[in-house]
Symmetry: none
Subunit: 219 residues, 2 copies
């Protein structure tokens, strides 16, 4: 349940990101949200605005709706963050719960800071999470050379794509995935492909083989 980090991505951590160009890295923004005090406080949850949630993270019908899903996101260092994603009937809202508080703590996020969610253009099950300080430029074009002026995780070091041989987020078998996050995925998803590092070790899988990043059953 702890975030994973490979030795390679540890090295990447030392490379600050300066030039933001999502197209260059084959990503597209899904949405961003300025964090509320509640999002970074003791409630340990992030409310995802309904319109964004239903567009980008549609929950399967049935009991998965009650139990929620696990979503995994890569951050600016290559670290994988797994969050429980679910719907709260009582408040009719979509939330990230388990795991979220650890992310807030590590990034030292405060109210007003902005969180960004992206996905890979060609591999829609690869999700990315990034953040910037409140008041920082959103497009990264400012070139002020300030830490606060940039996204973290909205761009990644160039080596990063080598980390992934396949999809890092997928439904569990035996269901056949057709559409996810508003994208048709027939030609992108290959259930037999196992994500791995160049050295042959599995970078992302920590649990049993059936435990994928977009797991339909949450336990």
């Amino acid at each position: 349940m702890e975030p994973t980090q490979s030795s390679l991505s540890s090295n990447l951590h030392n490379h600050p990101s300066h030039s933001f160009n999502p197209d260059e890295y084959q990503r597209e923004a899904m949405f961003e949200k300025p964090l509320t005090p509640s999002d970074v406080g003791k409630l340990n949850r992030l409310v995802i605005p309904k319109l964004h949630a239903e567009k980008h993270f549609p929950l399967p019908a049935g009991d998965s709706l009650h139990k929620g899903l696990l979503l995994s996101f890569e951050d600016e260092t290559g670290k994988c963050w797994r969050f429980r994603y679910s719907y709260w009937n009582s408040s009719q809202s979509y939330v990230l719960t388990k795991g979220w508080s650890r992310y807030v703590k590590e990034k030292q996020l405060d109210a007003g800071d902005v969180i960004l969610f992206q996905r890979h253009r060609l591999d829609a099950l690869r999700l990315f999470i990034g953040w910037r300080r409140r008041g920082a430029a959103a497009d990264g074009s400012g070139g002020r050379g300030l830490y606060q002026g940039q996204w973290h995780g909205a761009n990644v070091p160039y080596q990063h794509d080598f980390l992934h041989a396949g999809s890092m987020a997928q439904y569990e078998a035996p269901k056949r995935l057709l559409r996810l996050f508003g994208v048709n995925l027939e030609c992108q998803v290959d259930d037999s492909t196992e994500p791995s590092t160049p050295d042959g070790s599995s970078l992302w899988s920590q649990g049993p083989p059936t435990h994928h990043f977009y797991s339909q059953s949450y336990t």
Copy 2:
């Protein structure tokens, strides 16, 4: 989940209650409580003193203890108020939670005002809720002619009994109810009886048919 009100009971609202005689109307008081600032404040809950709670609203053993119950009470206008009733382990106290704040707001209750709970003598699953302003006479015998000197909901207009064809509070099937609120109920409870208005419409049911007022499963 909103309080329900029939057109008939709306009419009854225009009849101020002047003469209090619980025997005449086949009711008996269970208990009353002067409201604390917390009872009418932002905590949105009413603490029911333990002795009264365990005598009059005993919680069934098992998971109902954790999930709580729905209790329904008729007020002085015939309106039905549903409250969630449960036990808080943390404070070892019995509370009415969901729905309570709406009642406080509608009656404009303040700290020091007194709340009264009654039940029907012959139909112990019919519960009533009433209130009076702080310092007002409790027995209604003062005859001061003052609004503040009287109970509201401790007596009801004489037409009121026509509203009820059956019990308005009961356990869900398939359980057989034997004892509730300290009263033996074999001869009073009929699971097949659905509360209804004289016009034949269901006055109390808003949800699916299985949704009774004293529902053992809270969802």
